[in-house]
Structures are given as C-alpha cells and as structure tokens.
C-alpha cells in the first residue's frame, strides 16, 4: 500500500495529462488539510508560538512529503499554486501598513528611525554570528531571516540564496522570537507595550505579530507596522548590499 502510494505521488511534475493534474489537485488538498489541522491545534494550544501553524504545519507536512513523495522537488513542483498567492498577499500588506501608519503619527519619527536601525541590526547580528561559525555558504539565506515570509521568499530568489533554507530559517526565527521577546524585555526592565510590539514585528514577522495581538491590540498594531516596514526596508537594501559585496 505504502509503495503504491509513493509511486503515485512521486511521479515527476512533468507528468502530463490527467495523472499530473490529479497529483497537483491532491497535493493542494493535502496542504490545505494539514494547515487546517495545524490551525485547530494552534487554537487549542491557546496560540502558543511553538504551535504556530507555520511551524507545526511545515513539520507535519515534511513527514508526509518524506513518506508520500520521497523527494522534496516533486512535492514543490506540485504545490506551485501556493507560491503564486504569495505575490498578491505581499501587495495586500499595504493595507494594514497604511492603516497603522496613520494611527501612530504622533511617534512616527522615533519609530521609523528605530525600524530602520532594527531592520539592519537583526540580520547583521545573525550574519556576524554565522560567519564566525564558518557558515560562509549559507549567509545569504540567513540574511532574510526576520522578514515576513512572502517577501523573504521573493528576496531569496532575487539575491540568489537557497530558497528552501531561507524559508525554514524565517519560520523558526519567528517562533524563537515570539517565544523569547516578552521574557527578554521583562529581564531588561522594559515595560513599554509599544516597544514589545515593535520588537516582535522586527524580529519575528507574522509569528511575532500574532503573539503581539495576544498581548493587546495596541501591541499588535505596532507589531504589524514593524513587520511591514522591516520587510520593505530589507527588500530595498539587501539586494543593493549583495550587489556591492558579492
């Protein structure tokens, strides 16, 4: 049974006709089902960052892919629908950004300065550490680690990093950031909700923003703003830096 399943799913994407279409349709259903279950678990776990559908869903799906497809590239070729939606979703981020922007006008100056610094500092820390530990070949894939997922993926294509690595690093950076931000700020004696939100958005993108909304709507608003600006700033600056140094 298992072998039959695997030989079915592991047909290459170039498979033409009905079979190829069927595998693509089943793959799409499979991803949606895994996401649905992961989302349910996340709600059950009261939005605990480790149970975020991005983390839980990609781990669960990785097991299924290993069993059913055997090879990641077959799965990737049959799940292109999802990649297509990342583009329009990135554009859609303009709306919350626009709304938050007009709401925080009073602190626009310090916040935009801080976001600019943060968008540069958080990848710089990761790059310095990874470089010191001898990870020269993966540096580019780590540079996008704090950026919201669709932007990170597009950027990785643009700067020529390893997309699969960049995507995974983004997800788990988000989880680590969402888990550690609040305790770390408490340790540092920072009680300002705005700072917590901004830091979550800069360092932990969507996963952090979800966590920030658990704290308070205000914290969440600052996090969404930070996530959007960090994504844009990184998208503008990173390709230029890569061009300069590579």
């Amino acid at each position: 049974m298992n072998d039959a399943l695997r030989s079915f799913f592991s047909a290459p994407a170039t498979t033409e006709g009905l079979l190829g279409v069927m595998i693509t349709a089943l793959t799409t259903l499979l991803v949606c089902a895994v996401y649905g279950l992961a989302l349910k678990t996340y709600r059950r776990a009261k939005h605990f960052p480790l149970a975020h559908p991005l983390a839980l869903g990609s781990i669960a799906l990785a097991f299924l892919v290993a069993i059913l497809y055997g090879d990641y590239s077959h799965f990737r070729d049959h799940s292109q629908v999802f990649y297509w939606f990342l583009g329009p979703t990135t554009v859609a981020l303009a709306l919350p950004l626009h709304r938050e922007f007009s709401r925080i006008r009073a602190v626009a100056k310090p916040v935009s300065l801080g976001l600019l610094a943060g968008a540069l500092i958080s990848p710089a820390v990761a790059l310095a550490l990874a470089w010191a530990l001898g990870g020269d070949k993966v540096l580019l894939s780590l540079a996008t680690k704090s950026v919201t997922t669709p932007i990170a993926l597009e950027l990785s294509e643009k700067i020529g990093s390893i997309a699969a690595l960049a995507a995974g690093v983004v997800i788990f950076t988000g989880v680590v950031g969402a888990l550690t931000a609040a305790p770390l700020l408490r340790l540092a004696g920072i009680k300002d909700e705005r700072v917590l939100g901004l830091v979550l958005g800069i360092n932990a993108h969507g996963v952090g923003t979800a966590t920030a909304f658990q704290v308070s709507p205000r914290c969440g608003a600052f996090a969404s703003l930070a996530m959007g600006i960090t994504g844009i700033v990184t998208a503008l600056i990173l390709p230029l830096l890569v061009r300069l140094f590579a």
């Binding site: 895994v34 989302l39 559908p53 990135t90 602190v107 958080s122 995974g168 830091v199 390709p239």
Partner: protein, 125 residues
C-alpha cells in the same frame, strides 16, 4: 447558494485581481527604474501610495487583503517544508544555521528593544 455568497466570491476574485495588477505594475516600475527590489514589494509600495492618496481602501478590497493575509501561513507552508530536505547544505553548516536562529534572534531582540526604548524616550514630549 445565495446571491450573498456569490457576491462575496466575486469581490474576492476582484480583490485578488487588483492586487495582482499592482504586482504587475510593480514589475513594470521595477524594470523601468532598474530597482533591485522584488516586484511584489514595489507593488506594495505603489498600493500604499494609492491608499494614502485615496484615504482608505474600498470595503471589498480591504476584505480581500485581510482574507489573504490571514491565509499567509497556508501559502508559505509548502516552501517551509524545504528546510527538512536540504541534505548536505544543512549538515555542513548546521552550527551556523542553528546559532543564527537560536542565539542571534534573542541578541537582536534585546538590541532593537533598547534602541526603540531610547528613541521613544528621546523624542517624547
């Protein structure tokens, strides 16, 4: 099927079309100005500018934006799976990768938090 559902689906499709058009416009602008930015990000900035001029988005577009953003995790999961199938790239660089995630993230959080706190206090009137 009520007409209400049909209307919702229609506005979703229209919304996605508008966003895709902005992405396409983004690619035109990126190409014309030789920007190294991803096309969707250029599209984001264009939509942001248009929204700033208009004041706010029409309801159907706003609904589409919220719907898509709430499904962001779903769209991204297939790409996220890739990290478990890296093979040599991961085994050769595992220490740097793990450190970048587990160690650099908390360090960056503390640094950015201190900067933010400083700036907010400095500019507070």
């Amino acid at each position: 099927m009520t007409s209400f559902n049909l209307r919702e689906v229609a506005s979703l499709v229209a919304g996605i079309a508008v966003l895709a058009i902005f992405q396409w416009l983004g690619s035109l602008v990126s190409e014309a100005l030789q920007l190294p930015t991803p096309t969707a990000v250029t599209g984001l900035v264009l939509l942001f500018v248009v929204l700033s001029i208009m004041g706010d988005a029409p309801l159907w577009l706003a609904q589409t934006c919220h719907r898509l953003i709430s499904l962001l995790s779903l769209f991204f999961i297939p790409a996220g799976v890739g990290i478990f199938f890296l093979g040599d790239i991961f085994t050769d660089n595992w220490l740097a990768i793990i450190a970048a995630i587990l160690v650099a993230t908390p360090i960056a959080i503390v640094i950015t938090a201190l900067i933010m706190q400083f700036l907010l206090r400095r500019f507070a009137k």
